[in-house]
Symmetry: C2
Subunit: 458 residues, 2 copies
């Protein structure tokens, strides 16, 4: 540690900001397994993928050997509008907990999308624009990704079609209106605008939709329309690559003041935030330069890492997307109504799955009421109202800080605060009214999900 | 202009941040007129005021000669959690408008209260704590002030009782839940908890409340309870004093890069943001050191400056609060349903009113649909989703930048972006659906308001 006084918030100067993304796969001995074509169960080729995704993004998806990929000037310019995000020393939280631990959080919520999702949205929109496309399609559940993509498309003057799970469309009208303000068209899914949507509506009249159905509609809308491609906000390798900007900035800020963290903590749904946050630290670990504890936090109601299987599975409920080797609860697993919508995914990034399988990171599951208790405690002393997803990481950061209090150890904890909870007040209201409950799936429920796993030759 | 490259966002370092607030009244030749006791129509004494407000805040309210007032260490510590706020060069907006003007905005929305209100809330909570009080009471309409005060009270472990206009309590449940998450009690007004509330409910069963009624309830709850005082988020001199931190930071950031603005633009409801933003610039103007154009922007539906009278009037609809000499539409004037709730006030800060009367600033009124058009244009290129209040300033900043395009002048425009619009999506939805209309009060409606002005000897 050097002698510079550490400010509350560490901001990098423009010249200190990362100019390249870091591709952690380049340093992995065991590479993540390739995506499989759902029709043939053979590895997806670039050609297969380019029917759905932008060409440059396909290249990034398949590249597991180039460690650094330059960030195009146009994306750097956009990043400057809301980056660097601050690395904040949680002095007030430390004081409240009376812990000797030093707690830092990397806060990604200071942009209108309200989360880290914008880091990848702007990259994906840029490559779509470069390819001369007219627009992109996507699905959104909770709405953070849809909002981020709408903002990115607005910036590059691209059309943006969002299929929003019908129940969210109706229950989260504010998220929907943010997207519309940024010029996106938002269609409640299932809809009459696609073949698959019409089919589902005929079979299940009055259905309130699901993420799996919205993905199927978005993919159909992209592949069936000239000049359109489909984009996705998590799970994929390309997304983790773009999100590495979070970790690179965090590491640069820590290095600037000679701070070496003992542990890095992040919430994990599909893995976009966690994969980005930990990437440069994991890189050092993979290269044998330095060791860190790395902890993924997931909801007890959707415990892919802690109770899932490491196996090939479909990425979507509708089973039209490629198969990925990952920790999964089975594509037929329906997570219970957990308010952290961004963490309700049956699977996990294949990169993070491989790292976890190789013992390079830990995972922990936490229950919802304990998560909201941590969210409220954090909000009251640190000011920021966290998204429920982010609060999963807060919960474990507080737990670890309290262990330090017991042992007297002055550990340095860094966690990712992925976003703000302004559009999650219905969940906060339930918590405030004492009406929130926890749910942990039974072993039998999990077994039912595993029973649906596809049979794939290793 | 010096040669340093100007970054997108200018952040001050901790050592460059203001350590004192600036009291613009000290440099005014014509001081704002004193508040009058509503019972005697004589100037309010410190003793009169201390029955309602904290003692130190009363001292600040009455002090029109001390130019700099040191910011207590505890408040500076809190400011560090979310300040300095960035001064942003709106490069993308400039490019979109294709204007030679240089546009900067001081963004106050990067904290959970979503606005600049926190700057004064934390100061008022601090002085209440210093005085050994148990808690404070206040009213809130749109909810930004109530949220900010809840956060501040939570930080200092003070009780916070918010009377929220009943219609807002019911229609803005999310704002209410943010306040509850910070530990405030939120009571829909009128309520059965106060004498005045019970009286109003008896006279007007089923009323949805008004700001005037909520103020009366909050004042009664403060004066009738041991260890409580009432606090207010705008209009008062003390509030403008605390909000001077906005202008001081903005000026320090501009000075750091040798930038001299031609005009400063801010929205004006009660004047808390505008008064704070312009204070150091107005100070230079008052001392004859430099000239700036200073423009207050108000809604055409509630045009205190542009169509009001400069006269003594009650600060509240219920006429229980002191009288202030200000530009007013009459305390009986009911602003139409304009979505910028924070600008729906019949009067104006007495300090700003005196400056306007003395020809030291301009005022302009703008219509609602034009304001939302500016909000959307700004959001799409600059990323930030502005509060409707803030968008009034954006409207005029864009108008001035377009004038520069016509004349070819490279003017430097600074405007205040007071906050974010996450809780205003109902208004955005109306705009997105083409269902928003404008309203301009007729001369006859204004005359009716003026007819109710009290008769006060000059």
């Amino acid at each position: 540690m050097n002698n510079k006084e550490i400010p509350y918030k560490i901001y990098l100067e423009e010249k200190e900001m990362p100019a390249s993304w870091y591709n952690v796969r380049a340093d992995m001995k065991n590479k993540p397994a390739p995506l499989l074509n759902p029709a043939t169960l053979q590895p997806m080729t670039a050609g297969d993928l380019e029917a759905v995704f932008c060409a440059e993004l396909v290249r990034q998806e398949l590249d597991d050997s180039t460690p650094y990929i330059e960030i195009p000037r146009e994306i750097l310019d956009f990043y400057k509008m809301y980056r660097p995000s601050p690395l904040v020393r949680a002095y007030c939280l430390e004081k409240k907990l009376d812990t000797p631990a030093k707690i830092y959080y990397k806060f990604e919520g200071n942009n209108t999308s309200g989360s880290h999702k914008l880091n990848s949205a702007i990259a994906q929109a840029y490559y779509a624009k470069q390819q001369g496309l007219k627009g992109v399609t996507t699905e959104t559940g909770a709405g953070q990704w849809g909002t981020a993509l709408s903002m990115a498309c607005s910036y590059f003057d691209l059309d943006c079609k969002v299929f929003m799970v019908k129940v969210s469309y109706e229950q989260k009208p504010f998220r929907r209106e943010v997207m519309r303000t940024y010029g996106a068209s938002v269609t409640p899914s299932p809809s009459e605008t696609t073949q698959v949507g019409r089919q589902i509506l005929a079979e299940h009249p009055g259905t309130s939709g699901s993420l799996g159905c919205a993905i199927s509609e978005a993919v159909e809308a992209a592949t069936g329309t000239e000049g359109y491609r489909y984009v996705l906000g998590s799970v994929l390798n390309q997304v983790l690559l773009h999100q590495s900007v979070i970790g690179l900035e965090a590491k640069a800020a820590l290095d600037k003041y000679g701070i070496v963290p003992d542990m890095i903590i992040g919430c994990a749904g599909g893995g976009s935030n966690l994969g980005g946050l930990i990437s440069p630290f994991m890189g050092e670990k993979l290269r044998g330069e330095r060791d860190y504890r790395i902890i993924a936090v997931e909801p007890a109601s959707c415990p892919s890492f802690t109770r899932g299987r490491f196996a090939y599975d479909y990425c979507d409920t509708g089973r039209v997307c490629p198969l990925s080797k990952m920790y999964t609860l089975g594509s037929g697993f329906i997570p219970s109504a957990n308010h952290a919508g961004g963490l309700r995914y049956h699977g996990m990034s294949s990169t993070l799955s491989q790292l976890y399988a190789d013992g390079l990171m830990e995972a922990r599951s936490v229950e919802q009421t304990a998560v909201f208790a941590a969210a409220e405690q954090f909000a009251r002393v640190e000011g920021i109202l966290p998204a429920p997803e982010s609060a999963h990481a807060i919960r474990v950061a507080i737990d670890e800080a309290m262990k330090c209090k017991e042992t007297g150890e002055e550990k340095t904890i860094v966690f990712g605060l992925t976003g703000t909870g302004y559009f999650d007040m219905v969940a906060y209201e339930k918590y405030n009214n004492g009406e929130m409950s926890d749910y942990i799936p039974t072993d039998a429920e999990l077994e039912a999900g595993f029973a649906g796993l596809p049979k794939v030759e290793k």
